[in-house]
Symmetry: D3
Subunit: 148 residues, 6 copies
Amino acid sequence: MSGLAPGSGLAPGSGAGPAAAMAPVEYADATAEVRAVYDDIMATRKVDWVNNYWKVLANHPATLRRMWANTKEVMGPGALDPLTKELIYMAVSVTNGCRYCIASHGAAARKKGMTAEQQAELIAIIGLANETNRHAFAFDLQIDDRFK
Amino acid sequence: MSGLAPGSGLAPGSGAGPAAAMAPVEYADATAEVRAVYDDIMATRKVDWVNNYWKVLANHPATLRRMWANTKEVMGPGALDPLTKELIYMAVSVTNGCRYCIASHGAAARKKGMTAEQQAELIAIIGLANETNRHAFAFDLQIDDRFK
Amino acid sequence: MSGLAPGSGLAPGSGAGPAAAMAPVEYADATAEVRAVYDDIMATRKVDWVNNYWKVLANHPATLRRMWANTKEVMGPGALDPLTKELIYMAVSVTNGCRYCIASHGAAARKKGMTAEQQAELIAIIGLANETNRHAFAFDLQIDDRFK
Amino acid sequence: MSGLAPGSGLAPGSGAGPAAAMAPVEYADATAEVRAVYDDIMATRKVDWVNNYWKVLANHPATLRRMWANTKEVMGPGALDPLTKELIYMAVSVTNGCRYCIASHGAAARKKGMTAEQQAELIAIIGLANETNRHAFAFDLQIDDRFK
Amino acid sequence: MSGLAPGSGLAPGSGAGPAAAMAPVEYADATAEVRAVYDDIMATRKVDWVNNYWKVLANHPATLRRMWANTKEVMGPGALDPLTKELIYMAVSVTNGCRYCIASHGAAARKKGMTAEQQAELIAIIGLANETNRHAFAFDLQIDDRFK
Amino acid sequence: MSGLAPGSGLAPGSGAGPAAAMAPVEYADATAEVRAVYDDIMATRKVDWVNNYWKVLANHPATLRRMWANTKEVMGPGALDPLTKELIYMAVSVTNGCRYCIASHGAAARKKGMTAEQQAELIAIIGLANETNRHAFAFDLQIDDRFK
């Protein structure tokens, strides 16, 4: 892995915390390399802004490039429709309790058509699965032959 | 909460472990109350057998009844199609590493039409979301105003 | 699953986030159906107010009703005393890092008599169990025959 | 931290896995230092054997000694009764899906009097708390002023 | 376990939440027993202040003493260098989404020399491992013979 | 995402479970595309075999290619030495309880020089961090100003 963004404000051994210290890299301050990724994010998503996840990742351009390539491939067109992909993302993020991810992918899901009724069902399923997962752990359930 | 199934084999203070000790209650050995739930599970799912989760829960009939009522309501017809519901269930179960739940809901998803390509995408999204959730934690990301 | 609360303020595709957007449904604004659940919560708990969990769930009355029925059955009188039930709830909530749940069930535990000394022991046990769980994972411990 | 048990069979860089390779240290093969801990475990618990967790930890005597001292202090007599302490331990272990810990502390709980009815309630509460924790995450619930 | 700190402000059954209510015990208000631990923390770390974790733990002096003894032994000089120990701590804390721990151990890691480039790699590895862990769960991977 | 491996044995809607059903793709049966990745894995790691993770991923060549590219970039030469990278990987995998990952990365760590003493310290730190993470959750600790 190589290369810190110029002007990222990251100094080795600075007193700042790992998160708060990691200032978002704004488009105006970004290198051509980082701008190219931002441009692709905006073009792919048909929006005119970039959210904080990418702007903080941009402090380490190699990771920005890598994560965007992964996201584009995994969340792009495929055998599952775009809304379903967001619902799966939400199920993971809610299970892990990731506030930022719930906010950002909740917004993405609504943009892709998630209705309030669908959201309510999504949350109900996530809750139920987290419950029954623990029942299965507690009982040390043996997998039925028909499921093998 | 009340009532242990007759013949459940559960004796207070027995040496057996919490899981292995909890023998599945087979239909032939079940009370009328438990059979009624088993019958409803089979009728609702249009199958002729009941999987281990329910048969172990049956040691405590009140919980069997309660969990089946929840499952029927949450996983039944609604605003999300049946396959999408299973994919959400899988996303939670894989995140938590629940072998039994992955096996049983993986089978359910395939029965409802999940293709191998869709399964591959499901797993890829689950992996990516678990990864980016940790990036968000590490950076202590602030939620963008546009997501609020 | 069916039915959004009138006046819930939930519009499909609205820009608001999944959480912040979900405004609590106050008693004065609630339908008769929702008020009936609120009334039962207050009567059962012998309090004159309803906490945010239920007021946000009320945006989807079917879920409100279902979750209250579950809570009433599981947390109601049984073989475990009320305080012990809250301590178990706390152990799960602290393990998962759920701030809201720790606050609400911590308050419930104190109301049911948890002393500061008991709270300190609760937290110590939760910490120790989370530690030894990882030792067991790291060593891939085989279950002793005497535990089977 | 210092000192590997003589005869622990651990060789730096050996090909064996981190768990399977870590053979339990039997009493007959143990050093005086390790035997002293084993003796205290058996005396404290009034049993005539030591379970695998301690026998594997014994490969690193300093950790064995440290973890036993912690366990003795945290799980020993205090403001919470012995069974309640085990139920809290179980709640954490089931939430984390730790098979070994569920088996060992499930056995300990039964030894301390946990009835089948209490076990059923324990598992029901663990499941419910894991479910509502995710509802709280999904809704990003604000903590009620009365809980502060 | 025994003994609450005089002046800890903890009253059984008080209305305060489990966290907010637990006021940090400042040096000026601490007992000789607590001050002795604070002094050892500051001397060991060569700093002139004590962070909130210890000051809140100090409400229960026995736990303060126990946890500091553990931390001193586990995080002290050994076969792994101090920075590596902090990186391992960070990997756990980020996986669990513990904001406080990420902030405090991130600061400790920087103090021990973690560069911005190393921090970026740390976060990348944490993300990747959380991703591939879920792939392994989803596939229910069999352990290769060569790893046993 | 595109393309299933010829001869992967994956048939949509087959009865097999999501894991067991996913047979490893052996080199002899692999397409040129898959073999190219296998060859690069073996050359990069200087070994003459490929472990199950990659062989199961190979059922979906696009994911195999993507995950190997990520692993090569993240785990390759950088600012952290190879052993430290494996220890971080282990810390995540043990926290999540991923048996396969613990076995495979434990073997990798030993190959890169991890001693038994270092392994013992690694596991001790993982345990301690999982413990103190829960203390921080339970206390809802405020981040010290000096850490910001």
